[in-house]
């Protein structure tokens, strides 16, 4: 990493298990870096205000909204985007329960649900509701999404 105080930095990022060296601006969000410099467009720009959850990625297995995180804050941490998930139980459950309509919010929901499963093997109903409240689906597929996560929990 370049010395403190620079407006641009070269950082090494661990994204989806691959190490990437990349130049960033100090004020650049992680979402902007992912989509515009790494072509990882699964994380979606929605509100850009930390409200909708469409841009959710995992940082060290916890969900974070990449629109309210600077790219430089991600240095030294393990980043997982929707492109980094392959054949997980929650992806299968979303398909089985048709837990999407337009699909725009789906990557954020799946990342959040996957993180929940990683951190809670047997979450309570209240815990599931609390985690799911972080994401908004304008097509209102909430019932199907909740069914999907419960089926994934039962199959764990």
């Amino acid at each position: 990493m370049a010395k403190d105080g620079d407006r641009t930095f070269e950082i090494e990022l661990d994204i989806n298990g691959e190490m990437k060296n990349i130049n960033i601006q100090a004020g650049e969000t992680l979402l902007h870096l992912l989509r515009n410099k790494l072509s990882l467009t699964g994380a979606k720009p929605g509100c850009l205000n930390g409200d909708c959850g469409a841009c959710t990625v995992m940082v060290d297995n916890l969900p974070f909204k990449s629109c309210i995180m600077l790219a430089i804050e991600a240095a030294g941490h393990k980043i997982t985007t929707i492109e980094g998930l392959r054949g997980t139980s929650i992806q299968e459950a979303f398909i089985q329960h048709f837990a999407f309509q337009c699909g725009y919010c789906t990557p954020g929901f799946i990342i959040n649900c996957h993180s929940l499963l990683l951190n809670h093997s047997k979450p309570s109903k209240e815990t599931v509701r609390s985690w799911l409240s972080s994401n908004i689906c304008r097509c209102t597929s909430y019932q199907e999404i909740e069914e999907a996560i419960w089926s994934a929990i039962e199959n764990e």
């Binding site: 403190d4 105080g5 620079d6 407006r7 930095f9 601006q25 100090a26 004020g27 650049e28 969000t29 902007h32 850009l48 205000n49 930390g50 959850g53 959710t56 916890l62 969900p63 974070f64 909204k65 629109c67 309210i68 995180m69 600077l70 430089i72 804050e73 959040n112 609390s130 985690w131 409240s133 972080s134 994401n135």
Partner: protein
Amino acid sequence: MLPAYVEYYKPTSLSEAVELFRDLKKANKQPMYFSGGTEILTLGRLNMDTPRSIIDIKGIPDCNMMERTTQFLMIGASVPLTMIESNNDFPLLTNVSYEIADRTARNKITIGGNICGKIFYREAVLPFLISDSHLLIASLQGIQQIPINAIFNKELLLEEGQLLVSIRTESHFLSLPFISRKIRKQWETGYPLITGAAIKMDGVLRIAFSGICPFPFRSFAMEKEINNTTLSFESRIENAIQQLPHPILDDIEGSKEYRLFVLRNILMDFLLEMGGYNG
């Protein structure tokens, strides 16, 4: 996104941080301390209150610590709200924190950031106000420990360059009977209307609110009225409302009349659950 001209610094000690702030200020680089940074980023996106340089305090061990002893609980300013909730050393704080923003956002929002923020809710301060907590503040002169009720008046009254390091709460406050209420206008996850927190210590209710006035507050005058056991609950509530420190907010989230209605109900809940004798 913050503008391209923003510079980033990540000091590893308190002295380095406050000296950096001084030097950046002198160089006209409009420094701002950065913890979770959620508010800086959301306001920065709108070109509101945008810093020219940010000092990320997450590399400072004093700001990241969380320590529980038999005497006190110490929480560093950079501790995320979800970590406070999972540790649950201070159940009232857990309850209030649990209602802030949403679960994912609270992985990023820090306790110091919430208390020092510009958005007027700042609910996380309420448990500390009614628990007579102390704030550790770093400056070029060193570290001071200041009672929160002496330095929080509508907002945290820090001097330029001062940095909130951590919050210390005496252990006996952590296990007192408590109640908290957060009322939203819409659903379970909408923006807050009013948040109230109360503890009962030595038979006396202590209360603090966010969302009634354009700042969070603890009112000793309201507490005096609400604890007047010679009166009925209804009279105590009406007398307490007369002591509000500022006109009631009247905005798109809720009219003045609606907020007053909600406040009356919250105060009644507090009294019914913890108020004891209805005189």
